[in-house]
Symmetry: C2
Amino acid sequence: MTTKELLIKAKNAKSRLSSVSVEQIDNALCAMADALILNTDKILAENAKDIEKSRGTLSEVMIDRLSLSADRIKGMANGVRDVAKLPCPVGKVIKKIVREDGLVIEKTSVALGVVAIIYESRPNVTSDAAALAIKSGNVCVLRCGKEAHNSAAAIVDALQSGLEKAGLCKDFVLLVEDTTRESANEIMTADGYVDLLIPRGGKGLISACVNNATVPCIQTGTGICHIYVDESADIEMALNIVENAKTSRPSVCNAEEVLVVNKNIAKDFLPKLKERLVDSRCENPVELRLDEFAQKIIDGTPAKDEDFDTEFLDYILAVKVVDNVEKAIEHINAHSTGHSEAIITENSSSADKFTRSIDSSAVYVNASTRFTDGGEFGLGCEMGISTQKLHARGPMGLEELNTYKYIIKGTGQVR
Amino acid sequence: MTTKELLIKAKNAKSRLSSVSVEQIDNALCAMADALILNTDKILAENAKDIEKSRGTLSEVMIDRLSLSADRIKGMANGVRDVAKLPCPVGKVIKKIVREDGLVIEKTSVALGVVAIIYESRPNVTSDAAALAIKSGNVCVLRCGKEAHNSAAAIVDALQSGLEKAGLCKDFVLLVEDTTRESANEIMTADGYVDLLIPRGGKGLISACVNNATVPCIQTGTGICHIYVDESADIEMALNIVENAKTSRPSVCNAEEVLVVNKNIAKDFLPKLKERLVDSRCENPVELRLDEFAQKIIDGTPAKDEDFDTEFLDYILAVKVVDNVEKAIEHINAHSTGHSEAIITENSSSADKFTRSIDSSAVYVNASTRFTDGGEFGLGCEMGISTQKLHARGPMGLEELNTYKYIIKGTGQVR
């Protein structure tokens, strides 16, 4: 099937999906989860092919990301079941106006239509994205990177068999066969066919989508997250939060990349920071990349300008010393990707200034940036984290995969 | 001032505006309204220059759109005062989650930052757009067409003097001096400076913005609105609604352009339609452009294919006959611009099918499409009507000029 044919199929499936009841969708999601378990052997066999192909070309970390096991497939199935349990976002009356002339205006949440996801080598994205799209009433078009394509095809086969078992159309989840750049470009420019494109992957993929897409696209993921340690910070709290945000999982987008420190606390704080992040860590000590001021206080790598604009995704932390909270805000708004930033302070006026002026999706006071996540924010799930301001900002759950329309019922009213 | 310098000014003004209180903003809006009245003579003198320049090149209708009078300026001032009375959308806690670990997560509405409006020759857009942007906490960058530039400059001078009188920064409203295409392109690609671009004007302007903008942009305005008269329609109601939607103000985007009629009612309905829209109208009879089936029943212009994809904005109505509601939905979803569509029916199952399946911002049952308007929908005002699905759909009021951020307050929580 060509990508064009697949997009036509997806468009045609939209109206069929819009007449399926919530119960049918939830049943189908459970059947899809069962089908994943049932097809474990087949999925693992296809996954083995992907891994075999990638040996030598992909790093060990990437191979690990690509690898499935019976347990991981079980995890994927449980993920799909969890989505089935979430409330359905479609059809909610967001606002209702009854006019004096009797016209009833209901602002009602509706599915977007066709949601396309372009992703890289994590096979579990296949079932995650499909479940979220279907639960929110959307047809799902998946375009997986070539490294994981055999795995994704086996997973989609299983999901489709689940849909059919539940009496629904298997075209509600479609996998693009072509894994060349051509198919990605076709999806990005499929005006009238794709209602929302979500890129999930590295910086290169995301900027290719944002720059080339003519279909509506949401910029996700890249996180150059900052933590600012204010003059009045509780030092022990600051050390705990900085260590957690930097080291608990450095490869994720809500990890800290830049530490900003108030000048008046730097002499006291920085040596303790070095002790905590470098000297006392047997495994994975953090490389500190220091600005000139910090270099006078502790040892570390001298920071280059680009270190303050880099998503390291590694045990590396850029450190900058500033005069006050205003200078911290200025630096962060100039260098952040709009994802998550935190201030550590006991001063409520600094906290207010920071939360009001920082232009990011999540702004923390005295907590780790690592909480920016659909699950942690109570959305129950997550399709990605938007770093743009229109439509959705921050973690995208089911509601963010909907739009609304006004449904107006009258008895002949004219204007 | 170059456009680049102006954009830098706007960006710098953002944080100043974010610390202004609701009361200060409302006071400033009132001072801006007063300043419009105070400067009536100056504005009229500049407007006279615009009109003088345009004689011979612009049509009478366009000259009328461009023309101001003391009364029209009073209307503009009242518009600004009305916006001051609306509730402030900024700072609302949309959702609040208190986690078991004590972390408090507040999803809070915030201004977008800098809202740019590129518009054509209607001088009143200047004060409308400025008032809406400021009330919603946004700095306003205006780029007016060259025909109305003298008028716009005089209006912005007045608005800025009002801002200053109220003790606020005059950079909250800025008018781009350059009226060449160059300045429009600069705004469309001012990444990092413009948080939202709204084009207000004709199809050419809107598609230029949508196609060339790299900044976030909302597609507004174009309306190929359909009314479907179902088999079970109340004929008298259908005639009233079609006449109203077509003729009450044909130049606006919520006017009807295409009439879709059920085959089983066509023989009865179409002659009455012709009587109502053509024969009995002394002024402005409607030109009916008929598909083949309709031509067999009444006289009219044979419709060409493109008549079903044209926003006439005139006393012209394309007429298509279809077999049933499903075929009507199919035609409309294929040809509509996603603005407003209506069904006239006494059959609730047809009505349900129509409202569920039509993929437009406003879907009506038994009412005129002319109601799609911020004021009529209870938003109190309107910055334009979005025909896209992301962020805002349908009339955009103050809330639609906001985004949100998550503000998270903790006591040292880590993950």
